[in-house]
Symmetry: D2
Subunit: 341 residues, 4 copies
């Protein structure tokens, strides 16, 4: 059985495991003050071109989103997101649990449109009853989006301009950041992300680590006592080294982008396998997640040999399916899929 | 430099690392539905003598406490703890962040006394204004306590009896559970803990894993939709296997108790090193944390060679210090300490 | 200057003021245990045809919504509402502040459609990732809606049937309940509301009192310790008598419905004034709020003499306006308006 | 039956009722923008000697405390209070419900001691693990305290000095402020309170109104969007006029202090009645609440004729009782009590 169900089916990239083993008995202080975290943070700063950045290593995505968002919003503020945004749908209400509303705008293939954003903000500030409403306090986007799509540099700059006009920080959820930056359609680098975002995170869990996401405040302006808020959210690992070692390895010799490019290469072969058989796609994704629309027969053909996610059943027996490639996907796995179709 | 600063200075027990490596490329479903988690849960159930237990694997202690406590309390309830309890002091207000008050009672060397508890509960229920007060909804204790002390079986049974009388669940924070159960003074087993607690957790982070705590509802009565609450708290790892593999290893061939006993052996040698030099203790701890009171001279002698935590400075230049042994402590490390004193 | 801006422009109905004066120096216990509250609760039970109902008197609408909703939802649940629902838009995020998401469905002139509700609930329960999502835990509607529209008995029964199928309590926000029940289009009584709702409130603030809303759990199944949650939400008045006296008066000799009918009579004359001049309406409202679309010239004609609310400016100089009648509206006020148009 | 149970047994001062009646049909905007609120705020500013103060009118004490405290604290901060402080004991955990810990210090007859405060703050800032702890963010005191006691001007200035040293706002809960300022022992005026507090509230509910507390930020530095937070807490009355009219009346011609002085006069006669019979007091209170220790016989003598609150039963049949005088207490009521003893 081969699985394309998600991009977190395997453990960690072997170089990470090796590094965990070789550093295992080094005694180090807890809570992120160890040498590995120090080094990881420094390498991340360098990769972002932000020597003054504040970097924090947390363990998972929902945790990171809820910690960052509550730390940055004031009590009467909410966070703007696309209706399909992860925080709006699949985080079990973690943002609301922290006391804040997710203010949703239409999704364009998973992306926010800067005109929707501008129109919403203008209407809000023109509304006489706005003092009775949740005030927009932050803009959340994901790069790539939950549908595998990405913003162009121009689109992101346009969003940022609207954010600046309304004095709103822009937060980029980079759970799969590497897979976005490595794709052929991307016209941005990590440095561009760091220049445009007020805060973002570099996803580890889906890009080679066992766990871990690196939150970056590129201008070094993390909210006061952010460390304590990380603790309060239960997001502080005693053995911070687990995250430090992993991110230090990812950001040594360009491993993060290297394995991201591999995943994209595999994803494009995946896409091509479907395309060459005339299988249509729900959405045209340039990144590691592909959404072919399979017939009942095609699903039957794969059944028992290849695992994937059924995203949405259509009325006619067909279904939108999700196939994810990752740093761990092998050509052999693709061959098996191809043979079965 | 040798460090006795804490019991989370090293990575994971080597058998755990090996297992992570050997299972690394196995494809497995996410969110704790993988084979390793399934097996770990089953072994934990067996070790607890609770075939019907609900077991959940979370990544850290504060996270576990805040998730369990908010899942079990109703909005108008608080959790009772000793004034020195971890949730009352060192979790950055995570319980309050979740909307609940920590109702503190006197600490007796880190322990709750069942008479204090009974007196408090009787007074509460006799108070005419109790409908204006936070209602006690749960009792939290740590075993061993933050001061290394433990409850006897009788003391724990007495606490439990009071809890039953007032219909309060008893929650045991077992961040260092193995070190408690393995000590010479302990007259309890894991099965006893499971029989007396309504919910407890078996600490991994401080007892051999890189991260991870196993929450056990021994009677299989976890709150409805606890999984979703774990997600909402940001406590659900996508790669649940990381926790599954670790706990599965810990609960294979008695590794958890074996490494716990080793830590206690080291701790008792540590204790003896201080005792034999006439160094007094702040508290008489039978477990892996020792609290000698060192003079300025003694601290000076260790400085630069042996690291430890200064717990509380006394007026006269002396200080209560914390020296922690763990599964990773070696006789050689103790020799270095001994030589310096 | 005459104002139709809202239905809370004046103080209280004169009979209420008289009663406050005549009972003023009677000494009474606090927190709703006074004789006036006791009597008010009893009269409300009788008016609802629910001898076992639990009745609580709170001071305002947002407060009532947030208290009831947090008391009834479990931490992982959200409340379903129309996109235009008061809790979704104009309560400054009070529901989210209490930790819960508002799950919005399309608004049909302010109303929820039972087919939308059913489709949403079916889709939720068929979604494989629902354990990562906020679980629907309650349905909120307003009667009449924020647009003055009302549910027919059949429509409400259909909604209730869907709620029952999915085991969800139905909560009716009756901030303007009297104005809904008194209108010509209404085919329901207070008893019907009580029979269909699991919890609802009878609005006082907009229907004759200085402040106050009466929460009714018709089957006497208020959440345990609801009183304490009212206190926790800051919603418990020390001088509960203020609410008791007011509601006791409203529910003596049918005052509540009598003044509601007066408001509707005035609203229908208001409507007719616009209609007879060919002024179109944004929505066809049978209750006390009317939404004519006025031209710039018409607004100019009223300016300085008649106050109203500009609801939404249209591009062409016209605007949707809100004119509200209430228990306090007089024929003379309508004459002034009519003369100016 | 005469009741001394509390200071909220009657309705409102007759002048307030008259004013409510005479202004009843004036049409006014909602939410505190009416002319009565405008005037009340201006008069309160003048009485406080703070022309730039921000003043907000809320309806109850717990509501006011929880709104002010959550608006002023950052998520990782807690509020310091005496163990006996109202927010620590009798507000059903409203502060924790808002996400914040109440950090308690010893109570000295209801009062905080500036040395305790300073010692606690010094210890906190010297604690190496303080980043894992709730950070003190505000100091809460009540004037007079829950035991009727008051701070001297010097004691309050000393507390304030400690607050300033640690950059903490000082918040004074003035639920019974008038009764404190009017007592013989008081060496402060409302202007002094305004000069020393960073935020405080002037209690109405217990000093002559039906409901209502006036929050004052003397330096005009209310937290941004405090209005929206008031709304979010369900603390915004649609008919703000109810509070405006009441406070405007209280602050016209010195009514607030005049009725406070009357209450103190009655309380001192009350005290004298007990003293002259050799009845001891639990605490020596100079304000409107008196705490005599009555024997079973004495309580029996009053039973059925005079109501009071049993504060705490002592072992020997005696009980600490609370007798409260207020603006509404009459000499005749005292005569009845005296006759019975």
């Amino acid at each position: 059985m081969v699985s394309f169900t998600c991009d977190y089916s395997e453990g960690a990239h072997p170089l990470i495991l090796d590094r965990l083993a070789s550093t295992n008995m080094v005694q180090a202080p807890g809570y992120g003050e160890d040498e590995f975290c120090v080094s990881a943070r420094e390498k991340i700063r360098r990769s972002c071109g932000c020597p003054d950045a504040d970097v924090f290593l947390l363990s998972g995505g929902t945790q990171t989103n809820s910690t960052v968002i509550s730390a940055m919003l004031r009590p009467f503020e909410g966070v703007i997101a696309a209706q399909t945004g992860h925080i709006a749908v699949h985080e079990a209400g973690a943002v609301e649990y922290g006391g804040h509303k997710v203010l949703t705008l239409p999704s364009h293939g998973g992306l926010l449109d800067e005109r929707d954003l501008e129109r919403y903000l203008e209407a809000f500030h023109a509304d006489d009853s706005r003092a009775h409403m949740v005030m927009p306090g932050m803009v959340y986007i994901s790069y790539p989006s939950e549908y595998g799509t990405i913003y162009s540099f121009d689109a992101l700059r346009a969003l940022k301009k609207v954010c600046e006009r309304f004095d709103l920080p822009l937060y980029i959820d980079g759970a799969r950041l590497g897979y976005g930056l490595a794709c052929a359609e991307a016209d941005m680098t990590l440095e561009d992300i760091a220049a445009l975002a007020d805060v973002f995170y570099i996803g580890g869990t889906k890009v080679g680590t066992l766990c871990g996401e690196a939150v970056v405040f590129p201008r070094g302006d993390a909210p006061a006592h952010f460390f304590t808020m990380v603790k309060q959210h239960g997001a502080l690992l005693a053995k911070g080294r687990l995250l430090g070692v992993q991110f230090d390895t990812l950001f040594t010799d360009g491993l993060y982008m290297r394995i991201s490019r591999h995943a994209i290469e595999m994803a494009m072969r995946l896409k091509q396998i479907f395309e060459s058989r005339g299988i249509p796609f729900f959405i045209d994704s340039p990144t590691n997640q592909q959404f072919p629309i399979l017939t009942a027969g095609q699903m039957q053909a794969l059944s028992g040999e290849v695992a994937f996610e059924v995203w949405e059943r259509l009325g006619d027996g067909r279904a939108v399916c999700r196939f994810a490639a990752s740093w761990a996907t092998t050509p052999q796995q693709l061959d098996i899929l191809e043979a079965l179709l």
